[in-house]
């Protein structure tokens, strides 16, 4: 071994490898995913000389001066070495390097004192831009470019800039008139004024809401089996649009979505904001059909809270806390007890419709009545259980009789046929009559049995039960005297029960689960968050018996604390991503070790600190980015630079981006002159719907003429189980999964959708109609068509070709051609 080392390890002939320069980078690259200081696997951290000498379960990792006696070399030897357990074995050169370092006495690495805090958990300092004067963003970007031997690209032309700005901020194209006036405006302030105008438009909130709802995995059906519609989810969608348009400070934006109802109980909008927590899928059968106490019901609840934990922590902290459900996080300093601490925050809530009123007095009254109803229900539950347990022979006989009738009724129900002949219809009718009669009979028996059981209850209990039932009746009657409320699907500790779905009212007990198994509970969990954010207390001081909202409020306050570095870095990175297609951190919801590291850590911190320290205005952050030269660059590639940085992570140019599904659909409608800009309210259904036991959503059978569906795509009704095939072909994501960044694909199915989808056919026809109405003569019509779809005038030769095409194939086919062009679908 020694000999081989000397032969291969050329560097060792000259000088011993350095720990910092040679050894540590190798450990970082191949070993520290497991052997780090936060959660050292087998107790071994490969982070410093001291930690190597201390070693792990197998003893010290190194014997300084003797590589052949060092465990580190033994474990990595051979074709199929024990370590690393994944990926290729270390190369001979890498092992030679380690051996040479050990043989030379394993020097260095003492001062390091273990690995540093992971970048995303370090406090945010506000770094000074590398050069004074000028735009600080450009200063940061250009310093890195210079370092890498790259340089920024020149500014894009005005037509490109206005189209880019419109799609980034509104998801729509500029009108030809807007393009003309911007291109003609010679004022140096024209660009800045355009940015301000776009940020002030209500279209801005509609565009921003879309990516936020991707992150929150907002959908309007429950998902799973029997994908039932959620008719009252949309108020939350409207809340998000308004929040962006009003430039709600990010601090409030976060707090309201997690605990708005606890923060401002009188404000219906704050309640609506908690629609965030309920945005994800919900297992209808698991909650509403399974009986209390069954294993599957406990699993359904565990997974429901798991979704809340994952959504909140991925969205606001960009940490994968959900990876610690069964064990401590394998890569990040997140403890299993942290995970259950966040679960405990949501111990008192489910997802359900919550009524609210715009009139403050009514809303106050309703909340009073419902608070009393909740208390009444809590008091009733043990008495109802006691009642259900009462039995004697008479009770059993009545129960058996009712059961028999129900069984027979079920058989009759299934004896019905779907037949259409008069005989079959008559038979079905007869069966229906029987079924009804049997149901009434069974109900009568139930009532008899119930009164018998009541008689068996101890007198005091019976009296109390009756008092509570009477009180309940009165409260419900009182609630009915209030005006009809509005409703929002949101986080709810109290709601009207249905099926076997009952509210928690008070926080349920959440225990740490060994291996994540509901049958292996350990100690009860205390509400809290991440211990890794060391400057903040990781467990919350919420007194026992405090309303559950206090727990959520504590988490909200933990998140928005200005000492919490994750929150501010996370949002600054997401906003950056909206303008470059990629964040400064390429994994926007994972700032851990399995995620990507920031390409420009100082710039990220400068943006995050700026946002945090100046009131949390997202519009200001957008503005800062949009005014930079970095944003305004051309997108054209250069071969020499592409060789150095093919992925353009250092931003030597702007990225060319394909439009997202919503922008495509909205732009098609816009060009055809049919876009309806009516905002807010219940969602538009672009499908044929049957409200069955298992509802049917059918896009193919939808009659596009029957129902107006020309509003922006943000107002589409989002079905989880059955996606709109047109939108899906353009990578509109499944709302069951968190989507911090959409995929971009270019497929045959997508090409077919752009060619043949009824929407494209219909709007090609409408655009042709518009062209005929707005211009006389083919040359004017072709010019207008190009302006309306590509935001520019056609070049002379191009105009000739297109005129010939339109002359031969008609304006409808011209419209279809332009909608299918790469220029329409991409933003430079």
């Amino acid at each position: 071994m020694r000999l081989l080392v000397a032969f291969l390890a050329v560097p060792s002939l000259f000088a011993a490898p350095s720990f910092e320069a040679d050894v540590l980078p190798l450990f970082e690259q191949r070993c520290q995913v497991c052997h780090n200081d936060s959660n050292p696997q087998a107790g071994l951290a490969l982070t410093s000389r001291a930690s190597l000498l201390k070693g792990g379960k197998g003893g010290p990792a190194i014997v300084p001066g003797d590589a052949s006696a060092s465990l580190l070399l033994a474990k990595t030897a051979g074709d199929k070495p024990a370590m690393p357990p994944v990926g290729e074995p270390l190369t001979a050169e890498q092992r030679a390097l380690l051996a040479a370092w050990i043989d030379a006495g394993a020097q260095g690495g003492e001062a390091a004192g273990g690995e540093q805090t992971w970048w995303s958990l370090r406090p945010i300092e506000r770094p000074a831009p590398p050069s004074a004067g000028g735009n600080p963003i450009d200063a940061f970007i250009q310093a890195t470019l210079a370092e890498k031997g790259l340089a920024a690209s020149p500014e894009a032309d005005r037509r490109t800039l206005i189209r880019r700005l419109y799609y980034d901020l509104h998801g729509l194209q500029p009108t030809p008139e807007e393009v003309r006036s911007f291109v003609a405006d010679e004022s140096p302030e024209a660009y800045e004024q355009l940015v301000d105008r776009l940020l002030a438009s209500p279209r801005y909130g509609e565009r921003q809401a879309r990516w936020w709802l991707d992150v929150a995995h907002y959908g309007e059906t429950h998902g799973y089996d029997k994908d039932k519609p959620r008719r009252n989810a949309w108020p939350y969608r409207d809340w998000v649009i308004r929040a962006f348009n009003d430039d709600k400070p990010y601090r409030d934006f976060v707090r309201e979505q997690i605990a708005g109802d606890a923060l401002r109980p009188d404000d219906p909008d704050a309640l609506i904001a908690t629609g965030f927590l309920a945005a994800g899928p919900w297992d209808f059968v698991g909650h509403a059909e399974l009986r209390e106490g069954t294993r599957d019901k406990r699993i359904a609840r565990l997974l429901d809270r798991d979704d809340m934990v994952m959504t909140v922590m991925s969205t606001f902290s960009s940490m994968t806390v959900h990876c610690a459900r069964c064990h401590n996080h394998k890569f990040d300093p997140i403890l299993q007890s942290d995970y259950y601490a966040v679960q405990a925050v949501f111990a008192g809530v489910d997802r359900a419709d919550r009524p609210f009123d715009r009139d403050p007095a009514t809303f106050r009254l309703r909340r009073e009545v419902r608070a009393r109803l909740a208390q009444n229900e809590l008091a009733l539950r043990p008495l109802q259980e006691a009642l259900a347990a009462q039995t004697n022979e008479g009770v059993e006989a009545l129960a058996a009789e009712a059961e028999e009738i129900r069984k027979a009724r079920t058989l009759l129900f299934h004896a019905k046929t779907a037949g259409e002949t008069p005989e079959q219809k008559a038979e079905n009718q007869r069966l229906d009559g029987e079924i009804e009669r049997m149901a009434a009979e069974a109900k009568k028996l139930d009532e008899e049995r119930n009164s018998l059981m009541r008689g068996l209850l101890p007198a005091a209990d019976r009296a109390e039960l009756e008092r509570l039932e009477q009180e309940r009746k009165e409260l419900i009657a009182r609630q009915k005297t209030l005006p009809e409320p509005e409703s929002v699907y949101a986080a709810a500790s109290y709601f009207d029960s249905f099926g076997k779905f009952e509210p928690a009212i008070e926080p349920r007990t959440v225990s740490v689960l060994a291996r994540g198994d509901v049958d292996s509970p350990l100690e009860p969990a205390v509400p809290g968050a991440l211990t890794a954010v060391k400057v903040l207390p990781a467990r919350f001081e919420v007194p026992d018996g405090a309303p559950e909202g206090e727990r959520r409020l504590a988490l909200a306050n933990w998140l928005v604390d200005e000492r919490n570095p994750l929150t501010w870095r996370s949002i600054a990175n997401r906003i950056w991503q909206t303008h470059f297609g990629r964040g400064l951190v390429g994994s926007p919801s994972d700032f851990g070790r399995m995620g990507e590291k920031p390409t420009h850590p100082e710039l990220l911190d400068w943006l995050a600190a700026g946002l945090r320290d100046s009131g949390g205005s997202l519009k200001s952050l957008h503005r800062r980015i949009l005014l930079s030269q970095t944003y305004r660059q051309q997108s054209a590639s250069r071969q020499d630079f592409a060789k150095i940085d093919a992925g353009n992570q250092f931003l030597w140019r702007q990225n060319r981006r394909r439009l997202d599904a919503e922008s495509v659909r909205d732009s098609v409608l816009q060009a055809a002159g049919r876009l309806d800009l009516t905002m807010y309210g219940p969602s538009d259904e672009h499908f044929f719907f049957i409200n069955d036991h298992s509802p049917v959503y059918d896009y193919a059978r939808f009659d596009i003429d029957a129902q107006p569906t020309q509003r922006r795509s943000i107002y589409r009704f989002l079905v989880r189980s059955v996606p709109d095939p047109f939108m899906e072909s353009l990578d509109c994501p499944d709302p069951s999964i968190l989507t911090p960044q959409r995929n971009v694909t270019l497929t045959a199915v997508q090409a077919l959708a752009m060619l043949n989808d009824p929407l494209l056919i219909e709007e090609s026809r409408n655009l042709a109609k518009r062209l005929r109405a707005e211009g006389e003569g083919l040359d004017a019509q072709v010019r207008r068509a190009v302006e309306l779809t590509l935001s520019r005038e056609p070049q002379p030769a191009e105009a000739k070709t297109l005129e010939r095409f339109a002359d031969e194939q008609g304006l409808e086919n011209l419209a279809r051609l332009l909608f299918n062009s790469n220029e329409f679908l991409f933003v430079d």
Partner: protein, 472 residues
Amino acid sequence: MRKPIHQSLSRRELLWSWGGGLGGVALAQMLGREGLYAASTNGPAPKAKRVVQLFMSGAASQVDTFDYKPEVARRNGQKFDPGGKVELFQSDPGPIMASPWDWKPYGQCGKMISDLVPHIGSQADRIAFLHAMVSKSNVHGPATFLQSTGFVLPGYPSMGAWLSYGLGSMNDNLPTFVALPDLRGFPPNGPGNWSAGFLPAQHQGTMIRVGRPQPIHDLFPPQGAGFVTPSSEKATLAALEEMNRAHLEARGEDSQLEARIQSYEMAAKLQLSAPEALDIASESPAVRKLYGVDEPLTQDFGTRCLVARRLLERGVRFVQVWSGADNGFPRRNWDSHENIAKDHAQMAGEMDRPAAALIQDLAATGLLDDTIVYWTTEFGRMPCSQGSLGRDHNPFAFTSWLAGGGVRGGVSYGSSDEWSYKVAENETFGYDVHATVLHLLGIDHQRLTYRHNGIDRRLTDVHGRVIDDILA
């Protein structure tokens, strides 16, 4: 040790990162027909290339099909008392209920199979039965996901999408992964069962609604798009290519723009190939009869099984054929809570002959050697009765089976207890079947990964064990 696949492909990653690293540009995949896995050479030796999954939606009863339990027949009508509390989905356990069907031995292996599925019985020597299947959920939605995607939650890629991602396409004119839903409607979770989840959209199962006027969405313009004619289409595609080429030329190199130009060529090929693949008119009367495509009971499932064979022989990698729709009323899937004799007779009557025909036909054409037939359902049914004639869910023991490419025929692996209530030996999860199928396709299931939301996701999550006992 070996590298996870996604880390070993720098060339491909480079391609993907072009155009701003937008999270996956299709060009890499469109240029290289091979999938990510095909680029590496150190997986298990492949035995099969294709898979057809027959999915019995609603939970097919093992007690009435493949899991023979004389004890259940003997104790018909007695109280069901297997020891311990019996926790059912909807009901309290009724008495033991014998299967309404008789049982007979089939083939050289002598496998006991019920009269409900005699045609499949005739293929017993080609089949490996898995009798110790268990599900992690007793609810249709999550359990169906578990079989189709390996997770109980929505949003994960289907097995077919993983294969498309891992192995790529074997053709350049048809999709890699096709789903053939029941004509009556979608199973629980709908198209979520053939979703690409977080994988790029080209791995999505293409839904073909055999029997509908437009089986593939948007394959052709809708009726009433009168302005699109064959000659306008030709002119449009030519003009489009010219425009897009000029656009690309003005912008220099961009793999995305190039890929999109090519996507129209692939679309045109699909328009030519798909109708031909779906047209069963050219099949011989003998084959039509074998699948039962001309008889009302077997017409839908039979036609789809036959279409599946046509797709497989044209290079489609994974075909999912669904038997049964949602859990609605009147019953239109295998969820026979009320009347097993009536509702299972209907479902099995539709399925049995075509499923057996598919095996026979694949064998006759030589495709069975490298095609896996994978018959499954989300969970089983109880040996005791629900109501008086139905059976409730049983996630503790059910049967799946495999046949074809690399699978040993005429064997049974794992067993349930004397009731077919719980597993007695060799507990088998969907993960294990998934791992086994991947193994037969030459994929180490632990190495087929995709990074999503901070985790290297796998079809088999953190589980999965190749079932060596059923490998040929």
